[in-house]
């Protein structure tokens, strides 16, 4: 304690309050995902819909004109028909996939956030652990699925595990970027009111990290979905990934594309959900 005075940081306010945001996040800077091109006018929305109509209608017409076989590419109308009429076949598998995604993600994301919060308080430990986290992110976790199935069987176990392994590090590395933001003046402000370390964490550090935590949660969820579907394709008799395999093997192309459509909608819902959460909890940053 004798040298406590040397540990004080020089009060430096080069960083403006709003600009204290670290934009140099490098490989993990996915903030483009949350920003988007801004509010659209009614005409732009009409244009977006028009493009969809032209592409879908064009596909319908072209497939008809060139007499493309259904096993090569089914018509959009056949896909929609299959989705509606065979939804009873797809539905249970959608629930399986959602169950794996939610369970794995809940485990991975909570560990990721807690680990990020703890590790950023210890710069030395963080420096040691960082490369391994990066290794977890850069290694496709799908590669572990055969091994996990060998050990855990063909049930939910290996899938949930691999979803957690894929989403956790993504959440962690982004959340850590958020927790690493230190705004000396804001922490000093809280301290001047007598705030404890816990209060500083709850009232300053967590809100300040929130935008990056939300970005991490979004990417983690999307990675989790990818991984869940991939794992289902490797083995086991259920889940949307497994249906893709089955429908492809049976040359049931309209059903195959109906599953792809369901997955696309799932992905979009994840994106929109986190976009709205970000709007509510992190809009102060823009």
């Amino acid at each position: 304690m004798a040298d406590a005075h040397l540990k004080d940081e020089i009060p430096d306010f080069q960083k403006q309050p709003g600009a204290a945001v670290d934009q140099s996040v490098g490989v993990t800077n996915w903030s483009a995902l949350t920003s988007g091109p801004g509010r659209r006018t009614a005409m732009e929305i009409v244009a977006i819909i028009l493009v969809a109509v032209v592409i879908i209608g064009g596909a319908e017409v072209l497939i008809d004109v060139f007499d493309v076989e259904q096993y090569v590419l089914p018509r959009p109308s056949e896909i929609v028909t299959a989705l509606v009429s065979d939804f009873g076949l797809i539905w249970p598998h959608l629930l399986d996939t959602l169950f794996e995604l939610f369970s794995g993600y809940a485990i991975g994301a909570s560990i990721g956030i807690i680990l990020a919060a703890v590790i950023t308080q210890f710069p030395f430990a963080e420096k040691i652990i960082a490369p391994y986290i990066l290794l977890l992110i850069t290694t496709p976790m799908l590669a572990l699925v055969p091994l996990l199935m060998y050990n855990m069987g063909f049930g939910y176990g290996p899938r949930i595990t691999v979803v957690a392994l894929a989403s956790g590090p993504m959440v962690m590395i982004n959340a850590a970027t958020g927790f690493r933001r230190t705004d000396l003046a804001k922490i000093a402000l809280a301290r001047s009111f007598g705030a404890s370390t816990l209060q500083i964490f709850l009232k300053i550090r967590i809100p300040m990290a929130m935008p990056m935590i939300i970005v991490g949660l979004m990417i983690g969820a999307i990675f989790g979905l990818l991984t869940a579907v991939g794992a289902e394709m490797v083995g086991g008799g259920f889940g949307l990934g497994n249906r893709l395999q089955v429908f492809a093997a049976n040359i049931q192309m309209p059903q195959f594309f109906a599953v792809v459509l369901v997955l696309a909608i799932l992905g979009i819902l994840i994106y929109v959900g986190f976009f709205l959460i970000g709007k509510k909890w992190a809009s102060w940053q823009s």
């Binding site: 040298d3 406590a4 005075h5 040397l6 540990k7 004080d8 940081e9 020089i10 009060p11 430096d12 306010f13 080069q14 403006q16 309050p17 709003g18 003046a185 804001k186 000093a188 402000l189 809280a190 301290r191 001047s192 009111f193 007598g194 705030a195 209060q199 009232k203 300053i204 809100p207 300040m208 929130m210 102060w284 940053q285």
Partner: protein, 275 residues
């Protein structure tokens, strides 16, 4: 007003010396700095950039520890943040994710106390922020943000207000307006105020006494008494002896500068901050 019991100063800095540990070795920020501030007095500390003004204020607020020397509040050593000390930071320092009123409630949340709603409403009306309670900082102008931060500092009714270049980022007109407002609030509340600035005219306009600091390491170079009667108006700033005092202080600061321009090479960039 003149002091409480036995003429003891409200706030005293005694032999404050401060070194920072930087990559290029220890940085000498404050050197044996001593001042006394009377109860209800308004003092300013002026000095060149990087002379340790902020270090001094943060030490007075108990946010920094001193290498040697001490800060006394009502005769007791300040060795951590103190409930009788309110702090106004540079650039308002509001939390952007909180509405104005929730920013003002922050000290109460931290202290676990019920906010004094009447007093806060009075203060908000007083600084012209009535009706803006639910706005977010980004929706307020720089001047309004700084007024909100003054309300925040006064909200828990501390007896001492430490202000760290609060108006440095504001334009000249807004700054004049804010200075008038601060004087009025001081006349109403009679807080003991220590105000840091590098704007000498602002210091002369506001203070009872001005402490001029030398360039780093910060030492007390000279003390000026400001004689003008209260309340002051902006007309004071147009008077001849006002100019003379401003020029004299300026000369004092420049006079001290050359000698201190020879620190170790690396130290120079690290302390580009305002004072």
């Amino acid at each position: 007003m003149g002091g409480n019991e036995a003429g003891r100063p409200k706030l005293a800095v005694e032999g404050a010396t401060k070194f920072y540990d930087t990559k290029s070795g220890p940085l000498h920020a404050l050197d044996n700095f001593s001042i006394d501030v009377r109860d209800g007095e308004f003092v300013c500390v002026v000095g060149p950039s990087g002379c340790g003004k902020t270090t001094l204020l943060w030490s007075m607020a108990g946010l920094h520890s001193l290498t040697s020397g001490q800060v006394l509040l009502d005769g007791e050593v300040v060795n951590g943040p103190h409930p009788q000390i309110g702090m106004v930071f540079q650039e308002a320092n509001l939390l952007p994710w909180r509405s104005l009123i929730r920013n003002i409630h922050l000290p109460f949340e931290i202290k676990g106390k019920q906010p004094d709603a009447n007093w806060i409403t009075h203060l908000l009306e007083r600084v012209g922020l009535g009706g803006f309670e639910h706005k977010y900082p980004r929706e307020l102008s720089g001047g309004m943000q700084q007024r909100a931060s003054i309300v925040r500092a006064l909200s828990f009714n501390p007896s001492v207000l430490l202000m760290d270049e609060p108006f440095g980022a504001l334009d000249a007109f807004t700054r004049d307006e804010m200075n008038m407002m601060v004087e009025q609030i001081w006349l109403e509340t009679r807080k003991t105020i220590v105000f840091i600035t590098h704007n000498i005219a602002e210091a002369v306009f506001l203070s009872d006494r001005i402490f001029v600091m030398s360039a780093r390491p910060g030492r007390l170079a000279r003390t000026f008494e400001v004689p003008y009667a209260r309340p002051r108006t902006l007309d004071v700033m147009a008077e001849r002896d006002f100019f003379e005092m401003v020029n004299e202080i300026k000369a004092e600061i420049h006079h001290g500068t050359p000698a201190a321009q020879t620190p170790a090479a690396g130290g120079q960039q690290t302390v580009r901050a305002h004072g």
